[in-house]
């Protein structure tokens, strides 16, 4: 009893997952930073974040933020500017822009 996932369905699923991920991130982020009240604590924490794996994770975080933000804009356009009439084109634009920005950030971070 599975239902076909249309283009718009994927837009919704990704938005939801990215939103939940970001909410989780912001909670953890504030909690972690709140413990760093002096330079050594801060600097040692920052050292951890220079680990290549975490750098890649941070890159991924960026992509999640970008997708969620751009698709959020799409939803705003759907709600307020008749975007429902061309939601597929908007979603395509969101995905293309997300990929471009993701690649660009990669370039900034790693090259």
């Amino acid at each position: 009893m599975r239902y076909v996932k249309h283009y718009g369905t994927w837009g919704y699923i990704l938005h939801r997952l990215s939103g939940l991920a970001l909410t989780g991130y912001i909670l953890i982020h504030i909690y972690l930073v709140s413990g760093l009240h002096n330079r050594p604590a801060w600097q040692s924490e920052m050292e951890i974040f220079r680990h290549p794996l975490l750098v890649v994770l941070e890159w991924c975080l960026f992509s999640v933020v970008v997708y969620h933000a751009l698709n959020g804009l799409r939803i705003f356009i759907i709600d307020y500017f008749n975007g429902a009439r061309y939601q597929k084109q908007l979603l395509s634009a969101v995905l293309v822009l997300s990929v471009i920005l993701f690649a660009a950030m990669g370039a900034v971070m790693f090259i």
């Binding site: 599975r2 239902y3 718009g8 369905t9 759907i78 709600d79 008749n82 429902a84």
Partner: protein
């Protein structure tokens, strides 16, 4: 002529041994046939016990909405040539509604939701002796919403509705739009509080499954977004 394997969802409530299951029938078909033709051939030539709804066979009555190859559509409009593999067809009942038998689902809740949105013109002003005037532009505003044939394809394709069966669903919301945005109607105040609840418009997350499923090509999500704007502008 091609041989089509039709996998049909079967469930007989009167026979306890028979759990819901799939049965596969092989049917001769013309590549231009509709899925409804195949179901008819199964029922009339192979297995009379198969139950499904149908009536007009050209997409205006809304009886034969079912899930075909994983998506809701009208069986009478589901042309074999539009499927990637026309020789393998899977037919299931509409998702998330109780099943009465085989492909027949219980639509009581669906119509109950329809009744709750007060789907009728409310106008307390005594009518003139002739018609109430309505400009073609005002008429145009509700045109798309009046195409709806109540086939339930939209509401049963909506993920919000699967998770929360209390959600009014796209069909009822579309109907609500049809009357709330009618220039002759004065009943918005009576009607709108039903929409402004947790089970009303706010469960719509612009997923667009309903738009994909609608056999009449109505952009239901657009109509719901107009309702949301109306609710917000009413309150702030």
């Amino acid at each position: 002529m091609i041989q089509v394997k039709v996998k049909v969802y079967r469930f007989n409530p009167e026979n306890d041994q028979q759990k819901p299951r799939f049965e596969t029938y092989t049917v001769e078909a013309d590549p231009k046939d509709k899925v409804l033709d195949l179901l008819h051939r199964i029922k009339w030539e192979q297995d009379g016990t198969l139950a499904f709804r149908r009536s007009c066979a050209h997409g205006i009555c809304g009886s034969c909405a079912m899930k075909i190859n994983g998506a809701n559509m009208l069986a009478c409009e589901a042309n074999l040539k539009n499927f990637k593999d026309p020789t393998n067809i899977i037919v299931e009942p509409l998702q998330s509604l109780p099943i009465i038998k085989d492909l027949v689902v219980d639509l009581k809740d669906f119509f109950k939701k329809y009744e709750i949105v007060k789907p009728y013109l409310i106008n307390k002003t005594p009518p003139p002796t002739k018609e109430r005037f309505q400009s073609p532009e005002d008429r145009q505003l509700i045109d798309e919403a009046t195409w709806c044939i109540q086939c339930a394809s939209c509401s049963t394709s909506c993920p919000s509705n699967w998770k929360n069966p209390n959600f009014l669903g796209p069909a009822a919301l579309l109907k609500s739009y049809r009357y709330n945005f009618d220039s002759r109607d004065e009943g918005t105040a009576e009607r709108i509080h039903v929409l402004d609840t947790n089970d009303g418009v706010w469960r719509c997350h612009t997923i667009f499954n309903c738009v994909e499923a609608c056999p009449k090509d109505i952009n239901i999500t657009w109509h719901i977004s107009q309702l949301k704007k109306k609710l917000v502008s009413r309150e702030y």
